[in-house]
């Protein structure tokens, strides 16, 4: 899994996709942050099942309550 994401690409995509301008320095910080977050999600995602869905969480909390 890549530890680094291309900072100039981050800068371009912020502008092209979201219309937000960030400095080159900030893009470099964001590149590190996005790589870290994405890496963690991918690692955890590898353990997910294809039947998982976000709305399961509410049901899970109720199931875990003590009766």
């Amino acid at each position: 899994m890549p530890k680094n994401i291309d900072a100039p690409a981050v800068r371009r995509l912020c502008a092209q996709l979201r219309g937000v301008n960030v400095t080159a320095e900030r893009a470099a910080q964001l590149a590190v942050e996005i790589a870290r977050v994405n890496g963690a999600a991918r690692a955890e995602g590898a353990k997910n099942d294809f039947n998982d869905q976000p709305t399961s969480f509410a049901v899970t909390l109720i199931a875990l309550a003590k009766r």
């Binding site: 912020c14 960030v22 942050e33 977050v37 999600a41 995602g45 969480f57 309550a65």
Partner: protein, 475 residues
């Protein structure tokens, strides 16, 4: 007399009003006077609604006089973090952008408190858009800790913690997405509940992260907290994420009998790097619980550290969505912390965001099985270090923001990812003279056990009765 009035708990003053030992007007006037006196030093209010609340207090007194049926908070002045909508009334979210914002709807929790007879004293200071755990605010001025104004109040419910501690009101609502009730509760020496995700309606409150936001009270006693929670919790058809799980009568369950309850002390993560003075206070608090018959059990917990970046995946994407237009059109009007915490969310892939969400049930189920099949609650410090100063935690640039956040929210954020309830209870003072607290963490919808243990603790200690000496106009 006024000082005695202001030192009553919420439950005590409600009883005093009900029994006509004191009028709501007298109580409210005392709160207003106190609020105005401490405001220059503490800056806990964004607005004090003096005329309206006095009018409401007089109406409350007329109701008492004519023998009307009275709600559990009848005539009691509360104040709330400035993010709870009231139709037609300004709600700033602690921001510049919403300085003149008037929502068209009223929050369900506001309606429920009003139905219980509570009065609205004013709107409390907060971190902009609930996005900062320190209490700094570059638009409305920092909220300052009433125990020592050089120190942070904790955030983002900064004004809620400070206002309750400074005796300007009898309770306040806050919100907790990564620690924003528990941190100001701990920092100001008051009680604060982060409820189970979905326990309390989020309808018509300013959103921060839909999947993590919770609403809860800050009060001086656990009993007060139990009363307010019982009134605001429960299913709300206007909030589809609110749970229909039955709401117990939390206050009636407070019997101070905790013999045999198992209090878990985590051997990993939550005490790592804890300073000696915090460690001492935690040990003393556990000794109190042990003296009451609770069993103290050390155990290893599933390492919650890996949830930190998953929480970022969820939080950054959702907040980038909420602030998308402002990031594009008015970035200069957002504080450094808000921009820093949000920008990455613009480019975190949707797949990664959903992977983080989908992992929550599995990770939470594992945590609950490993921990709460063995103990009833987990006991841990809210913060592992003494409260820092505002100068120490004011970030100079984006690079410093995330590090600062990680340090301060180390013990609180994982609990938001897991959706579990957590109650912050004052436990004494660290070596720098500022308050500290433990948190009791439970399985989903176990707020009743947290309240029972916290209330029993307060029956044996007096930390919650200590009052800060605030520099005021008159001294």
């Amino acid at each position: 007399m006024k000082s005695n009035l202001l030192n009553l708990s919420l439950c005590e003053v409600a009883e005093a009003i009900r029994k006509k030992r004191v009028s709501s007007l007298e109580v409210t006037q005392a709160c207003i006077e106190r609020a105005k006196a401490v405001q220059p030093a503490v800056n806990c209010f964004i607005a004090i609604e003096e005329e309206e609340v006095l009018r409401a207090a007089r109406a409350a007194d007329r109701a008492v006089k004519r023998g009307a049926k009275l709600g559990p908070l009848h005539g009691v002045p509360l104040a709330h973090k400035d993010m709870f909508y009231r139709a037609g009334r300004i709600c700033t979210g602690g921001s510049k952008i919403l300085r003149d914002y008037r929502p068209a709807v009223t929050a369900t929790v506001v309606n429920r408190l009003a139905a219980a007879g509570a009065l609205w004293l004013g709107n409390l200071n907060m971190a902009e858009f609930a996005a900062n755990p320190t209490g700094h605010n570059e638009h409305w001025g920092d909220c300052c800790n009433p125990w020592n104004t050089a120190h942070i109040t904790g955030g983002s419910s900064s004004g809620s913690g400070a206002a309750v501690a400074a005796r300007t009101c009898y309770g306040a609502l806050g919100s907790d997405t990564g620690g924003s009730i528990r941190l100001p509760a701990a920092a100001n020496g008051v009680v604060g509940l982060k409820p189970t995700y979905g326990r309390v309606s989020r309808h018509a409150i300013l959103p921060r992260v839909w999947s993590l936001d919770t609403v809860g009270p800050l009060t001086r006693t656990v009993r007060d907290c139990a009363r307010i929670t019982g009134l605001i919790a429960g299913a709300d058809p206007l909030d589809p994420t609110s749970s229909g799980d039955p709401v117990p009568n939390y206050e009636r369950l407070l019997d101070r009998r905790i013999r045999g309850l198992k209090v878990g002390v985590p051997r990993n993560h939550f005490y790592d790097g804890t300073t000696p003075d915090v460690r001492r206070l935690m040990a003393q608090s556990r000794a109190v619980l042990r003296s009451l018959g609770a069993r103290i059990i050390e155990l290893d917990v599933p390492d919650p550290q890996h949830t930190y970046q998953l929480t970022n995946a969820i939080g950054q994407v959702e907040s980038a969505t909420i602030y998308a237009n402002w990031l594009r059109e008015r970035p200069q009007d957002l504080s450094l912390v808000v921009r820093t915490r949000t920008e990455a969310g613009m480019l975190v892939p949707g797949v990664s965001y959903l992977e983080a969400l989908n992992a929550r049930p599995r990770i939470t189920a594992e945590f609950v099985r490993e921990v709460f099949d063995k103990v009833d609650v987990l006991h841990a410090p809210v913060m592992t270090m003494p409260l820092p100063t505002r100068a120490e935690t004011a970030p100079g640039d984006s690079g410093e923001v995330m590090d600062m956040l990680a340090r301060i929210t180390r013990n609180t954020r994982p609990i938001n990812f897991l959706g579990l309830p957590s109650l912050a209870v004052p436990a004494g003072f660290t070596d720098n003279g500022l308050p500290a607290a433990f948190q009791l963490i439970g399985r989903p919808f176990a707020e009743d056990i947290l309240f029972r243990i916290g209330d029993a603790f307060q029956g044996e200690t007096d930390w919650h009765t200590r009052e800060p000496v605030v520099s005021t106009n008159s001294n």
